[in-house]
Symmetry: C2
Subunit: 420 residues, 2 copies
C-alpha cells in the first residue's frame, strides 16, 4: 500500500474512532486551538469554567466580601471539600483527601508520617518528644525504600525524611521491592507510573507486599490520577500524594493533595503541624492538638486562588467514569503507536513504553536520536509533547480532550519532522 | 465641649490629615467600597491591578501558551523575581528572598536550616547522612528558643523542628531572650510584631543578642512587612519568613517567602529539598545537589496563579517609601487611639497595644467585654476589624488605603455600638 493510502486509511480510522468516542463532547469543555496538545501530562489544558470562576473569586469574594469569604464563600473548608471531589477519581471514600501545598511537601508529610505510623510512635500531642519511639512495636524499623526510577523530587524528599527520622534510604526498582521489603522497613514510596517511560507499576500487588511486611505503602499518583482507576481504598494503600496540574487540569503549580487512609488518621502525626491542622485553629492555643480526620494533613493558610481554580477545573469530571477514561487512554496510545509504526521509518524511534496494557500509563515515550531538537521542531509544527533528557520524546494523552485525529496527526508530523 | 463639637473637631482634623497625606492617591489603586476596612492585617484589600493580570495569566499564558509559559511567560523564574520585589520592603538586597509555600512551611525550612547552620552540619549533598554533625564546632547546640507569645503556627512548627533535629524547645517572652540565649542555643524564632497585641519587638537588639551567643535569629515578619521598615540586611538577621496576604495584599493564602542571608546561602541545607531547588532541575538526576543562592529555598513546582496575583499586587508599591508608610501608620494609630479616648466612655475598652511608637506595629488591639459580639455588630455597621479570643478587638491600619476619616469613623461607630 502506498504511503498516501496508509495515511488515508489511518485518518479514516481516526474519524471513526472519534465518532464512536463517548467522551468526545468533553473536548468542548476545554480551551483548545488547532495545536495537537500532548503535554497534558505536564500541564493540563485550561478548562473553560476556570476563567469566569476565578474572576468571581477575585472580584467578588476577595474584592467585595474580603475577610468574610473565609466563611461565606467556603474558603476555609476548601481543602477537604476539593479533596472529596478528587476522591472518586482515585478510588477513595470521602474524608481521606486534603488539598494543599506542593507534591514535594506532601511527600514529606506522608513519608515522615508513615515512618511514625510504622514505628507506632505516639503523636499529635506536644509531649511526643524526640524521634525513636523506644519500646514501641515498630521500633526497629529504620529503612525507607524509594522507587529508584522515581521522579527525582520524591527521591530528594525521601532522602530528607530518612535523614530526619534516622532511617537509611534504599533506592530500588519497583519490581525488586517485594523481595527486599522486610521487618526493618518502615515505609515504601512508589510512583504509580514512571514519569519518563510511562510504565505503570502494579499498585495492588506492590501494596500487598509492602503491607505484608508490616511497612506502609506510600504512592505518588501524579502520572495516573485522572488517567486511569487507582483504587486507593480497594487496594489498601496507606498514604498517597499527587499533583493536580496534569490530568486533573488544575493549572500551573496548582495545589497537590494528600490521602491518609481512614484507619491511619487517628495516629497520623504530621511533621508539618501548622495552625490550620489544629483541632481548634482559632483558639490560638500554644499547645498543638491535631484536628480529627484528614484535616491534620493541612499546614498553613490555604492558597485560595489556586485552590478554587482547581475546584472549577474539576467540574469537567461531572458524569465521567474513570473506567471510560482508561479505555480511551489505552485506545489512544495503541492507535498512536500503530500510526508511529506505519509512518516512521524503522529504527528512527523506539518506544520505551510497555506494550502490555497492564503496564502502560497514559503516555508514550519514544527514544530518539536528537530528541531535544526533534521536539523543538514538532512544537513549531503544532504538535506539543515534551523532551526528557537525554533522549526521550514524551507524548501524554489526556482522554478528555485528545482525539484520535490528534494522535494520527502527531505521528504523521513526527515522521515528517524526522524525514526533514 | 459637647459630644457633637468633639466629633466635629475630630472629623475636621481627619479631613486635614487626609488632605496632607502624601500616600492618599494610593487608595485609588485598591478596590474599596464605603466599608471601613481595618482587617488588612488579616487579608489585604484587592489591588485594582490584580483581576486583569490574573485573567491574562489564565486566558493567554495558561490557555494559549500552555506549557510554553514556563519559559515564555517567566513562570519558572517567578519565585526569585517576586522575592526581589519584596526585598526592598524588608530591607534586603536582591537575591536573598524566594517566594513560595505557606508561612508555616517556610518556618520549618528556616528553623531546621538554622539548626544545621548553627551546628555547622555539612549539607546540600546526598552524603550528608543522619543528623548530629559529630565533630563540628556547633555540635553541642540542642535548643530552639521560640517566642512564647507567637502566632501559634510558629510554635507548633518549632516543636516539630525541635523534635526532628533532636533539640529541646524553650518558649520565652521575647524580652527574656537575651538573658536566656546561650552556647546551647541553635536558633531563636521571633515574631516582629505580636499578632494579638500589636506590640513591635526590638528586632535590632534581639538579633544582636542572639548572634552574640552564636545562635541564629529567625524572624517572622507576617505582621510588619509592608507596614514598617524591617532592615533585614542592616540588622544582621539570619533567616526570615513572612506571609504576603496582609500588608502586601497578595490575596487569600497567597504564597509566603523565605529570606536567607547571603552569607548563609552556600551552607543553607533545606529539610525540603524539592526538585526546583536542584542545581539542574531538568537534569532529573537521582542525587540531590542544591542550587546556588536562595533558590535552594524552593521546594516543588511554583504555584503560578497565586504567585502572579501577588506580583500584580506588588505594583502598588511603585514609588512608595516604607518610611512614609510607617509615618502614616503611626499617625493613623495615634489618631484612632485619640478618637477612641474621645468617644468611648472610660473603662469600656482598654488598649493593649503599646503607646510608645518604638513598640507599636500597625494595629490597635482593644480589650473589651463581649468582644466577639461587639465585632459582629461593628461589621454589620460597616467597620471591619476582627476578634481574637477571648476578649480582643483588632483593628489593622494599612497606610496605603486606610484614611484618617476611616479611623475617626471606626472609633465613632465603636462608641455607638458599645452604647447601644
Amino acid at each position: 500500500m502506498s504511503d498516501r493510502a496508509v495515511s488515508a486509511r489511518l485518518r479514516d480510522e481516526a474519524r471513526s474512532l472519534d465518532a464512536a468516542d463517548e467522551l468526545r463532547a468533553k473536548r468542548a469543555e476545554f480551551v483548545l486551538d488547532d495545536t495537537v496538545y500532548l503535554d497534558g501530562n505536564s500541564l493540563g489544558a485550561l478548562p473553560a469554567q476556570v476563567p469566569g470562576r476565578v474572576a468571581d473569586v477575585i472580584a467578588r469574594q476577595w474584592g467585595e466580601l474580603r475577610i468574610r469569604s473565609w466563611d461565606e464563600s467556603g474558603w476555609w473548608a476548601a481543602p477537604e471539600r476539593i479533596g472529596d471531589r478528587i476522591a472518586p477519581l482515585v478510588g477513595a471514600a470521602p474524608g481521606q483527601i486534603v488539598v494543599g501545598d506542593s507534591t514535594s511537601v506532601n511527600v514529606f508529610k506522608a513519608l515522615v508520617g508513615a515512618v511514625r505510623l510504622a514505628r507506632g510512635e505516639e503523636g499529635g500531642h506536644p509531649g511526643a518528644g524526640a524521634s525513636g519511639g523506644a519500646g514501641h512495636p515498630g521500633e526497629g524499623r529504620d529503612e525507607i525504600i524509594v522507587d529508584a526510577t522515581t521522579f527525582p523530587t520524591d527521591g530528594y524528599i525521601a532522602q530528607s525524611a530518612a535523614r530526619l527520622t534516622g532511617c537509611r534510604l534504599t533506592p530500588l526498582a519497583p519490581a525488586d521491592v517485594p523481595a527486599a521489603v522486610s521487618s526493618r522497613t518502615a515505609a515504601v514510596l512508589l510512583n504509580h507510573a514512571d514519569y519518563r517511560t510511562g510504565r505503570l507499576h502494579d499498585l495492588p500487588s506492590l501494596t500487598a507486599a509492602v503491607r505484608a511486611a508490616g511497612a506502609l505503602a506510600v504512592w505518588d499518583l501524579c502520572h495516573t490520577a485522572g488517567a486511569l482507576p487507582v483504587g486507593l481504598d480497594a487496594h489498601g494503600v496507606d498514604l498517597a500524594v499527587g499533583c493536580t496540574y496534569k490530568y486533573l487540569n488544575g493549572g500551573p503549580g496548582s495545589p497537590a493533595y494528600l490521602y491518609v487512609r481512614e484507619e491511619h488518621q487517628a495516629r497520623f502525626d504530621s511533621p508539618l503541624p501548622g495552625w490550620t491542622s489544629h483541632v481548634e485553629p482559632f483558639g490560638m492555643r500554644p499547645e498543638f492538638e491535631a484536628a480529627q480526620g484528614v484535616t491534620r494533613g493541612r499546614v498553613g493558610t490555604p492558597d485560595i486562588l489556586s485552590m478554587l481554580a482547581l475546584e472549577a477545573a474539576l467540574d469537567v469530571w461531572d458524569g465521567v467514569a474513570v473506567e471510560a477514561v482508561r479505555a480511551k487512554s489505552l485506545a489512544l496510545t495503541d492507535f498512536f503507536l500503530r500510526c508511529v509504526a506505519a509512518y516512521v521509518p524503522k529504527g528512527r524511534v523506539e518506544s520505551i513504553t510497555p506494550e502490555a496494557h497492564a503496564e502502560r500509563g497514559s503516555q508514550v515515550a519514544l527514544r530518539c536520536e536528537g530528541a531535544g531538537d526533534v521536539m523543538k521542531r514538532l512544537i513549531e509544527r503544532g504538535v506539543v509533547g515534551d523532551f526528557r533528557a537525554p533522549d526521550v520524546l514524551r507524548f501524554g494523552f489526556t482522554p478528555l480532550y485528545v482525539s484520535f485525529a490528534d494522535a494520527e496527526r502527531a505521528a504523521r508530523v513526527l515522521a515528517e519532522t524526522l524525514d526533514a
